[in-house]
């Protein structure tokens, strides 16, 4: 079980959180013309890297804030966590 530092609450066990996928995905702007390919890339296609990964987590059983986690998908090492409007330090 991972130990994740919520940027609002501090360190908590993984069972308080839910996983939210790749944090680098940007939703296309509302109303923009967008090709099917680009849209499919946004909806379905995700990288599955071995190593460092920026991802979203949601503190569902806590403050209910979404935030960013930089994690190694192979070792589970967490390098940093930050609020949505912040950048990782490492």
């Amino acid at each position: 079980m991972l130990e994740i530092k919520c940027p609002y609450c501090g360190k908590r066990s993984q069972n308080e959180f839910s996983y939210g996928g790749d944090a680098t995905i940007k939703r296309p702007q509302l109303g923009d013309e967008i090709s099917t390919e680009d849209w499919d890339n946004f909806v379905y296609y995700r990288d599955n890297p071995r190593g460092k990964h920026s991802e979203l987590w949601h503190h569902v059983s806590g403050c209910r804030q979404w935030f960013k986690v930089s994690r190694d998908t192979a070792t589970h090492e967490i390098f940093d966590t930050c609020k949505m409007n912040e950048d990782f330090n490492v």
């Binding site: 079980m1 991972l2 066990s13 939703r27 509302l30 967008i34 909806v43 589970h76 967490i78």
Partner: protein, 999 residues
Amino acid sequence: MSNSFRTTNSTGLINKDKKINFTFNGTIYHGYEGDTLASALIANGVHLVGRSFKYHRPRGFLGVGVEEPNAMVQLHDGNKSEPNIIATEVELVEGLKAKSQNCWPSVQFDIGEINNVLNRFFPAGFYYKTFMWPKSFWMKIYEPFIRKAAGMGKAPLLPDPDRYEHNYEHCDVLVVGSGPSGLASALAAAKNGARVILAEDKPNFGGSLLTDEVTIGNMSGKEWASDTISQLKSMPNVILKKRSQVFGYYDHNMTVMIERVSDHIENPSKYTPRQRLHYIRAGEVIVSTGSIERPISFGNNDRPGIVLASAAKEYMKVYETLVGKKPIIFTNNDTAYSTALEFIKNDIEPIIVDTRDSSNGELVKEVQQKGISIKFNSGIADTKGHLKINSAIIGKLDSSKESFISEETVECDCICMSGGWTPTVHLSSQAGNKLKFNDDIDAFVPDKKRQKETAIGAANGSFTLNQSLAEGFQVGFDLSNKFTDQNNPTNSPNSNEPSYEKHEKLWCMPLPSGKKPKRFIDFQNDVAVSDVELAIREGFRSIEHVKRYTTLGMAGDQGKTSNLNGLQYVSKIEKKIVPEVGHTTFRPPYTPVTIGAIVGREVGNHYLPTRKSPIHTWHEENNAVFVAAGLWQRPRYYPRGSEDMNSAVNREAANVRKNVGICDVTTLGKIDIKGPDAPEFLNRVYTNAWLKLPVGKARYGVMLREDGMVFDDGTTSRLSENHFHMTTTTAQAANVLSHLEYYLQVVWPDLDVNVLSTTEQWSGIAVAGPKSRDLLSKLFPDVDMSNEGLPFMGLVDSSIDGIKARIYRISFSGELAYEVNVESNYGLYIWKKIMEEGQSFDIQPYGTEALSTLRIEMGHVAGAELDGRTIPFDVGLNSMVSQKKDFIGKRSLSKDAFTESDRQTIVGLVPLDKKTKIPEGSHIIEDNSAVAPIPKLGHVSSSCWSVEYNNPFSIAIIKDGKNKIGKNLYAVSPLKDISIPVEVVSSHYVDPEGTRVRS
């Protein structure tokens, strides 16, 4: 012969003043307080415990603790029965019942032993080779037979009656194992102010200090251990846990420990858990798990009476028990000589067989000084004795040590063997530590760590006491200082122990001349040297493949005594050094863990939390039959007298159509939405338009996922300019809230909106039916309930008896209907009030079944249709999709597959005979005489008995549904062998114009 194998000294840890009776295979024996089942049986001269896994060979005790591969028993009976329990880990308790496993009719005479005679037909990979053909035999003949023959104990068939608990702990330093290094590190860390947990698997702290003749400072090892424990006990920053095994090391320094809380107590209180599972998140973990002695492979080295030398010593020193009175010590190193000395102390002269040419170790000299001669350069070639060893064939080794020069038969009643020591690296390895091979000790030790874990003492390959203590004090201080900065080191005291000479790299004896007895490596899985040879002969090279082909190290003991011997043997045949062969992976759990402990208190009603509406007690009092809706308990129907479900549901639904019904809808998800951008946000979340919704009005909304599938639906109302009240389905309430939070926090943080769940703040009561207006007018005389005063989709605030109520005119049943919302605490009061006033209108409560019937008849969609595979078009909600604005998931709706002209859509189905109910999930096909595979048009999502037309009615989602109306098709359920001719009709079966809701 009761307890005739006890020593006469009383320096151990058993209490001979307290007798404990127990039963083994139906015979009553007694042992003493402090005994294990193993030590008590051995003291009674019982060595034959069970039969081996594959060949059903008689087996006894090899070890004295967790390493034991053979002595597994079935414990207790009835619902407390437990299989595969290691007898060396069972503390004796009055009335304990144990029996042998894997034998029939008895452990002395076991039919299955025929496998041993036929062993040449059961080589490694036997199953893979034999049961391949014919393929059809596998399921019906081979598999059931193997299942019956395989396995050790029998799993209990009754529910586990015991109580198990879970506990979460945090500490700075967790020390696993309380031998010299563990005690030293715990003491140093605790004195330096760190929060320390010290875990010991056995009932007594001290590890090797309980059996080794050493001094620390001016105390014996044993005294120093107990002195250190008393110091630790007095410190508030220390938790001491005995009978506690840390069996798993997971990510981010999460370890899991099983504590045997009351297994050793005769009559524990009902509320004392049997075992407790501790999740310990430790800042640093010190692995001081010691080492396990290795056996030696020689002919028939598995007979009862053949034990590890260290086990024999511990039985004598801790349990005052002799494994035999005519012992042979067989060793490749010095440590076994301490076992010899212990026998001598008990006036027993052992025969000593040493593979080495000589040794000048202190213990060896001491033995020689006592006048015992040592057979150097010798080994045991074979043993005899069917159910218990009675003699050994001792051979003189030639200079290459590849064969015996001469052999002699020697009588004995036990062999105490020692092949050196293997550090217990399991936890370090589980933690991701990359092990390295240490040539000096011929074993793997922890090296590159991935987590905050440090191995010390014997677990780190440091086999001398001085080294262990020094490492313990140093590491304990260093690690604790990361947390406390107190800079308060504890000095390591002087210690004294005998010096040891080096072991010999020899773990497998040559075969005796002219014979090929089995030389076992893995006792629990019956893997012999010949099996490893065969695997390599057949081309298995990787140690992982050899392991799987032979099953070496794959038994419940996780190869604690066999892994390294197997590796050594592979490396010898392959002429590779061990590090090149590599090692297999260590995985949790280190020792078997009872399923009950893993489950803990999360059983039965405690498996999940139960949510009840504030009106729940009324439902109970009024004979409701409940159904789980997620975590909620909802009334399903309210049977009257001897009514069955169908008649109750039909009565309840018909009463809504005819008079008025009342339904508890508290479980609907409710979300309060506030902020200047709230309308804009709803406009993006829902498919329809929201900007112009007037204050005091509700609107039905549909939300999609980005892939275009319908996510949820519900009614949202505008309470004021910037304040909305959203309702969701019961099932999706939590997901919708997370979804909204995601878009507000991640995607559109510029929107100034707050969302908050208010599901539990409101109690909701639906009042539906043609008489609902008259009833509510009576209850709320100040509210104009007319179509003008409170039109469909309107809302109004009022009160009853000073209790504020919000009345929505919304309908799920398709009838004229209202929903009264009050603060949760008043839900029950208002419900009763409505029931009371409703008597004169023939009011009846209705449950979820009637609720379904009513909505199905009306063609209103719910979870069965919104199953994550339907877009708005499919479920008849296309009119809800705005063409003018963008919203979540809109772009997906214009994808090719979603705009095909024959796209699936929702329809109604009526059976042609107007009688046969169509099972939900049935397939819809065009031609039921066609040959399979028959193209499937779609499926039945919801079914009910239409109370309006008095015949079955179903909703289905089928291909090109629009153009199928009026056609006859078949609803088939191959599993139930049903084929029902049906007519396709509109899904809006009752009141398709929607006049009733607006009446």
